[in-house]
Every structure is written in structure tokens, then in C-alpha cells.
């Protein structure tokens, strides 16, 4: 079984209890920050790893948004929320690392706790570069590892257990975004240096580094 298939199966299993785990405390806590980040959505938007659609109520109305997720079970739960969105929202089962959209299809790409779970972050970011228009924005709400003791050590300690349930706890997503050729515009630490928003743009000149 390849890593994408393993990830799909893991999130299909997690879909059974995902809303119970994340739908109240974490979502209520992060909602104001997500709404502020998502308020910057304009043009044609791709939302990666939309999951069960918990983030959809934080989207500004009236936009054209395509949401993808690797897990059909998660997307099945997202359908009701997507139907309620006051704009045009479509959902597709798709792996971030193997998106079938045409090159330069989207004005903006958004993520929400996505790159803790994408099997190959570098491949995922290359894929985003391909589907994003030159000058387009990648805006992310993510949790990452920490550079500060003892928080970094704690996250490293927890990672072997957490990765079996779902997310990796100690990824350096900011570095991966920069390495993928995006220009980091702003990183906003929301809790310690762990929960953060990352805003990066693809250089306009043909998207070259």
C-alpha cells in the first residue's frame, strides 16, 4: 500500500469521530483566526483537505470555491455544509500531491491543518505551485513543530503516537513552503510558535524561484 492510500484509509477511519474530536473545542477556539484568514479569499479559490467541512462556515460568501480531500468518507460528511455555503462550492476526492486540475487554474489556495497530514509535503507544495496562477497566494492555517524548548521536544515526543491517529506534530511547514519557491509574506504565530498562519505568494514572473 502506498503512502497516499494509507493516508486515505486513516482519514476514512477518522471521519467517524472527527467532528466529535475537532468540531467543538478546537474549532470554536480557532474560528476567529480562520475567519480573519479566509476573509482574504478572492477570485477562484482551491481549499485543500476540506475534511468534514468544519471550516466552511468561516468562508466569506459569494465565492467560487473548490474543496478537495483525499478521504471520501470525510467529504461525504462535508456535503451538507458545502450545500449550505452561500456561493458556489464544489467538492472532489483528490490527493493534494496528485491534483488533476489544469495548470494555473486558481487565484488562491487555502489550507487548514493540512500540511501536518499530507504524506509528502514537498510534492504537495509542488502540486500547489502548478495549479496556482503566477502572482497567486497560498494562505495556510497550520500547526508545526516548535523551535523553542521544551515545546519542540514535547512535540517530537508525541509525534510517533499522533502520526498513527492523523497528524504529524513536528513538521517545519514554513521552511517547506519557502523551499517550494513561494515568497513568504507573513507568518503570524497564534499559539506559541506552533499554531500559525502562513501567507506566501507565487512570484509573478512565471512562478520561477
Amino acid at each position: 500500500m502506498n503512502r497516499s492510500e494509507a493516508t486515505r484509509q486513516r482519514w476514512d477511519r477518522t471521519a467517524l469521530f472527527f467532528d466529535l474530536m475537532a468540531g467543538f473545542g478546537p474549532e470554536k477556539r480557532w474560528f476567529p483566526f480562520k475567519r480573519e484568514l479566509f476573509a482574504r479569499m478572492t477570485g477562484k479559490v482551491l481549499f485543500l483537505a476540506v475534511g468534514t467541512g468544519l471550516d466552511i462556515p468561516a468562508f466569506p460568501p459569494g465565492l467560487e470555491i473548490v474543496g478537495i480531500d483525499i478521504s471520501p468518507a470525510m467529504l461525504e460528511k462535508a456535503r451538507t455544509r458545502a450545500e449550505r455555503y452561500p456561493g458556489k462550492m464544489t467538492l472532489q476526492v483528490m490527493d493534494v500531491g496528485a491534483m488533476t486540475f489544469a495548470d494555473r487554474s486558481f487565484d488562491q489556495v487555502f489550507t487548514s491543518c493540512t500540511f501536518c497530514s499530507v504524506p509528502d509535503p514537498a510534492e504537495g507544495l509542488r502540486s500547489i505551485r502548478r495549479v496556482l496562477k503566477p502572482g497567486g497566494w497560498l494562505r495556510m492555517f497550520e500547526h508545526t513543530g516548535s523551535d523553542v524548548f521544551p515545546f519542540g521536544s514535547l512535540l517530537n515526543f508525541m509525534n510517533p503516537l499522533c502520526r498513527h491517529i492523523g497528524p504529524e506534530m513536528n513538521r517545519d511547514t514554513v521552511a517547506r513552503v519557502r523551499e517550494a519557491g513561494f515568497r513568504i509574506h507573513r507568518v503570524n504565530h497564534l499559539y506559541l510558535d506552533v499554531v500559525k498562519t502562513i501567507e506566501a505568494c507565487l512570484p509573478a514572473e512565471g512562478g520561477e524561484r
Binding site: G25, F151, L155, M158, H189, Y191
Partner: protein
């Protein structure tokens, strides 16, 4: 900085609960670790390591219950830190300060409050915008 009372209460409750549980477990293993003939320094060092590990397991258990109610990383990190600290503090508090009305659970809970304060202080220092070079 979190200002909503519900979440502030949740953070405190989670850390106090994790600390008390870690303290309680540290007392439970104390009897097993007190092997006659062992040098005291070795026994204490070993017990601190065992208590720290058990405390982190206690932290994970409390986090599993508290996270759906109160948050994700904002619960997990202070609660895990509490488990690590309170596992050691619970037993040491009782042994060094002497038997007190606080008990190992009380010392552990106190460790939870201190751990939460450390996380809050660190959060105040770290949070905010970073304009990337």
C-alpha cells in the same frame, strides 16, 4: 492571547487535572521503586524518570478528554508539560517538603498551574506576526 473565560477555565481545569493525576500516579509507583539496598540518589533519579514518563501518559489521557471540549494545541502542550513536571513534583513535593495537607495530587495540581503559567508566558513572548525576510 486567549481572553474567553470558557477557554481560560478549560486550560486551567485540564492542567490541574493532569497534574493531580500525575501526582497520584507518582505516589502509586513510589512503593514499587523503594527497593531496599539501592543508593538513594540512584533510586531518586530512576523514580524521577519513571514519574516523568508516567506523568506524560497521564497528560495524554487528560488531553484526550479535554481537547474536544477546550482546544487542540492550546490544551495538548500545557497538559503534556504538566504531566512531565507534575510526575516529578508530586512525589518530590511530598518527600522534600514533607507530608502535607496538599498531598501528591495537590503538588501535582500546583505543577499544572505553574506549567500553564509558563506556557502562557512563552505564548506572550512568541505569538504575533513575523515578517519573513
Amino acid at each position: 492571547m486567549e481572553r474567553r473565560p470558557y477557554f481560560i477555565f478549560g486550560d486551567l481545569l485540564s492542567c490541574v487535572a493532569a497534574g493531580a493525576l500525575a501526582g497520584n500516579w507518582s505516589v502509586a509507583v513510589h512503593g514499587w521503586m523503594a527497593i531496599p539496598g539501592w543508593p538513594m540518589a540512584v533510586a531518586m533519579a530512576l523514580e524521577m524518570i519513571v514519574d516523568m514518563g508516567l506523568g506524560m501518559v497521564a497528560g495524554m489521557l487528560v488531553a484526550a478528554v479535554a481537547m474536544p471540549l477546550f482546544g487542540a494545541m492550546e490544551i495538548m502542550i500545557p497538559v503534556m508539560l504538566t504531566g512531565m513536571v507534575s510526575g516529578m513534583v508530586g512525589m518530590l513535593g511530598e518527600e522534600i517538603v514533607g507530608r502535607s495537607s496538599l498531598g501528591a495530587e495537590g503538588w501535582g495540581a500546583l505543577g499544572g498551574v505553574v506549567s500553564l503559567l509558563v506556557c502562557t508566558w512563552a505564548n506572550l513572548r512568541l505569538q504575533g506576526e513575523r515578517v519573513a525576510p
